[in-house]
Amino acid sequence: MITLKNIHKTYGKGNNRLEALKGVDLTINTGEMLAIMGASGSGKTTLLNIIGTIDRPTSGEYYIDSVRMDELSVKEMAVFRNRVFGFVMQDYSLISHYSAIKNIMLPLHYIKLSRAEKKLRVMRLIEAMKLENRKDALPSQMSGGQKQRVAIARALVNDANILLCDEPTGALDSVTAMEIMSILKKLNSEGRTVVIVTHDQSIAKKCDRIVEIKDGIIFNKAN
């Protein structure tokens, strides 16, 4: 269970000071599929980055189960990003000069596993994401849907339990978007917690619960 208590995040100093999160309280249950909706600039990415330990909150408390996340060392945070969280971004966040398979393998560089085990994981995911004949392609040679499937495969390669998706369908057409959503839905049904940031009502409706963020504050919304 993810628990955020009075999370604040401030960017900049002095005149440039900007409070992106103004006391976020949020609980996300294990195995839940949650949509976070909000206008552009409302703090969605900031919140997701804090949950994913890419960023630290300025103040507040953040727990996963009983682990105090905002007080972890950089090393422990790296381990969480590597093994617990999987990220799926609107812009795919693939390395441009890596082939699909290399991109998928990236998190494996930061974990100790046998070669055979690594290979097995990658092959399984390539198959699951239907990327068999695109595995040597560069990101620039793939369609948006293919790129997002590579990103999902990468998020899953260390068996992440929490998927953090920042507008995962934002750059995709509606058919491809639904395809990606059904993949995420399936992953959720396997027991993974899925958090999806979106401003698309139709995407949000596929989730168990929707919360809204407005100017850095969360509002619960009945679904």
């Binding site: 950089v74 990003r81 990220f87 966040s93 390395i95 441009s96 560089h109 620039s140 790129k147």
Partner: protein
């Protein structure tokens, strides 16, 4: 650490062209630095030599202003010879005549005909000499002729060997210490290396009038012998031979020193400017790596890297780049002078043109628009 090294090599492999280009750029920076530093250091050495010379000897320089108009008559010859002999007989007179280069083994070779006080005045040391080289150098008798050979002759000759110069055999009585040079105040203030030159005593037995003039022009006299110089002047005036201008060497040296200091400052400033720009360009290379690959690094962090890993990788790649550059620039010559620098600059511009052309050739607008990735 091992993981980061692997990443670093992988990164270089996948961005080989970028790496090569940046390495060339830093190599050029190193070359520019070394070239200019060496040049300015050379000028400093030269300046020191002249300052040393000023300290050691207070000399008067004999200038001949109208040498071309001197008629080669018997009478003139007699008078010239008289002037020359008078000057030579002044105690402490120093002659350094380099107007007669020679050909040795089909190679143009600078020859310095000097009086034996030359070595002390210029602080020139002799290596591998015969026992009594100074005496032989002094002996004016006919018979055997002697020379001191520049250090580069050591490859082909030994002390005692004979060298043929214009049909005459000269015996090597020693070598000039490697790296020696002279800066003759009467010779354009330029420092000349003696490594490929030869030094001989003055053999002035039967020489033409024009040769006498060249010797007279190469003479400096200690200023305490001003009285004797006055005699020469008077004799010259009475017989109307030459337009002699006797300059205090101190004045001339002052001019030289001014020129040297100007050059030191000039080259020093240029060196500093180039060091500044080269260091900046190296720094920019490193900063550019961070911006160029900023996204890649962020993705790595997202997948489990720590910021430390990224720092290590950038430092690894940058130090590889810089050490390759340093190695290359050392091979290409720390002694690179202006010519090499100019050549390198042209190459540099050429590289930029080529790389840009290459990159644009394989640049696909379609792909770049598609890959928001």
């Amino acid at each position: 650490m091992f993981k980061n090294i692997r990443f670093c090599f992988e990164h270089i492999r996948l961005n080989a062209l970028d790496f090569v280009f940046k390495t060339i750029e830093t190599t050029i920076a190193f070359l520019l630095i070394s070239g200019f530093v060496t040049t300015s250091l050379n000028y400093r050495d030269y300046g020191n030599q002249i300052k040393g010379l000023m300290k050691n000897a207070d000399l008067m320089t004999v200038n001949v202003l109208n040498s071309e108009s001197v008629q080669d008559t018997k009478k003139n010859y007699k008078n010239l010879r008289r002037i020359y002999d008078m000057l030579r007989s002044i105690p402490g007179t120093l002659i350094v005549n380099n107007e007669y280069p020679v050909t040795i083994n089909e190679t143009y070779t600078e020859r310095y005909q000097v009086t034996d006080n030359f070595f002390d005045s210029y602080g020139i040391h002799v290596t591998d000499p015969v026992n009594n080289w100074k005496e032989r150098f002094r002996s004016d008798d006919s018979g055997r002729k002697y020379l001191l050979a520049g250090n580069s002759f050591k490859k082909t000759y030994n002390t005692g060997d004979l060298i043929d110069i214009q049909g005459e055999a000269y015996q090597i009585i020693g070598f000039i210490e490697s790296g020696s040079s002279v800066a003759l105040p009467m010779q354009d203030y330029q420092s000349e290396s003696l490594d490929k030159a030869i030094i001989t005593p003055i053999y002035d037995g039967e020489i033409a009038a024009s040769d006498l003039i060249s010797y007279i022009r190469s003479i400096t006299v200690p200023s305490k012998e001003a009285e004797a110089l006055l005699d020469v002047k008077r004799y010259n005036l009475k017989n109307a031979v030459l337009e002699l201008d006797i300059l205090s060497c101190r004045d001339q040296m002052k001019k030289v020193r001014k020129a040297v200091i100007e050059k030191e400052v000039y080259y020093g400033i240029i060196a500093l400017v180039f060091i500044f720009f080269s260091v900046m360009s190296m720094l920019c290379m490193i900063l550019q790596m961070i911006t160029d690959y900023g996204r890649e690094y962020a993705i790595n962090i997202m997948c489990g890297a720590q910021k430390n890993d990224i720092t290590v990788r950038i430092i690894l790649e940058a130090s590889m780049m810089l050490s390759i550059s340093l190695g290359l620039s050392l091979i290409a010559g720390v002694n690179a002078g202006f010519a090499v620098d100019a050549l390198v600059s042209i190459l540099y511009i050429g590289m930029i043109v080529l790389i840009t052309a290459y990159k644009i050739r394989y640049y696909s607008p379609g792909e770049n628009l598609r890959s928001v990735e």
